[in-house]
Amino acid sequence: MTPPLVIAGRELRSRLLLGTGGFARLQSLGEAIDASQTELVTVAMRRIDPAAQGSLLDVIRSRGVDVLPNTAGCFTARDAVLTARLAREALETDWVKLEVIGDERTLLPDALELLAAAEQLVDDGFVVLPYTNDDPVLARRLEDVGCAAVMPLGSPIGSGMGIANPANITLIVEQAHVPVILDAGVGTASDAALAMELGCDGVLCASAISRAADPVAMAHAIRHAIEAGVLARGAGRIARRTHARASSPLEGMPELAE
C-alpha cells in the first residue's frame, strides 16, 4: 500500500529492520521475523562457540530474510573495518550496519571514528548504513562520504526512551538525500509511528521487540505503527493549534429555552 524503502537501489517492502539481539529463544526470533514482515535483520560478529547448538543463520534463512551484519562493540575505525570485512567473508554480503561507539556506558557513536570507518568502507565497496547520533551535521557528512543511508538514534540503545529530540530528526530528514532510518530508542509502537511521521524512511528495532513481554505481539504492533506513520505522513496532518476549533457547527442550534 505504501511505497517501498529503497536502499542502494534495493527495494524493501518492509520499512522495519529487526535486530536479533535480546531474544530469549531463537524460536521467538523466528516468529517475530514473520510477524514483523521484515526483510532485513541485523547480526553481530563474535568468536565462534563450537558448543553452540542451533544456528542463528538457519533461523534467519529459513524465514527467507537477509542478514545485515553490524560492527557492534567496536570502539575504533580500524576494528570496525576489520569486523566488516570478516562479516563480508562469513556472510557473503557487502552491506554493513556500521557501529563505532565511544564508551560502553552510553553506547553512543564516536563521530570521528565513525566517519573515518564509513569513508574507508565505502572505498572498499561496502554498502554502509551507519548508526549515528542525532547530529544533522554528522549525518550530512556521512552522506557526503557515500553512506547508503543514515541511521540516527532516537535515544540510547535499549533505553526505550523514544525520540528524545524530534527537532534534530526533522533537520536530518529535511537535508537527507539518502534514506533516514531511525535506529535505537524505540520503546513501543507510538515511537515508531512518530519516527515515520517525522519523515524517517524506516525504523530499526531490537530491544523494543526482542525484550518485550510478548515479542511477537510487539512485532505486529510495530509493523502496524510504521504503516500508520507512513500513511499519516502522506495524509498531511492538521496543524497544531493552541485553541479549540469546533468540529460541530455552531450555527443552526434549535432554540430550546423555556
Binding site: 536479533t20 547480526v43 542463528l56 562479516a87 535505537a184
Partner: protein, 67 residues
C-alpha cells in the same frame, strides 16, 4: 603453539587454516564463518593452503544475535 580465539592451542608445524578448523571439529565447509590471522582476514579460498605460523593469533568468527 597458536592462539585460537584467545586460547593457546597446539598446532603441528605447517598446519593450514583448514587443519586448524578440523582440529577444532569445525567443518571448513560451514557457511557463516570467517577467519582472521594476526588481524588480517584470511579469505576462504586460502584456508587449504595458508599455513598458520607459530604464535599466530587465529580468530574464528560467526554471526551471533545482535542489534
Amino acid at each position: 603453539m597458536i592462539y585460537v580465539n584467545g586460547t593457546p592451542t597446539d598446532a603441528p608445524a605447517g598446519a593450514t587454516i583448514h587443519d586448524v578448523l578440523v582440529g577444532l571439529r569445525i567443518d571448513p565447509e560451514t557457511a557463516g564463518i570467517a577467519v582472521a590471522i594476526d588481524a588480517e582476514v584470511a579469505r576462504r579460498g586460502v584456508w587449504p593452503t595458508h599455513t598458520v605460523p607459530d604464535g599466530a593469533r587465529v580468530e574464528i568468527v560467526t554471526a551471533t544475535q545482535g542489534g
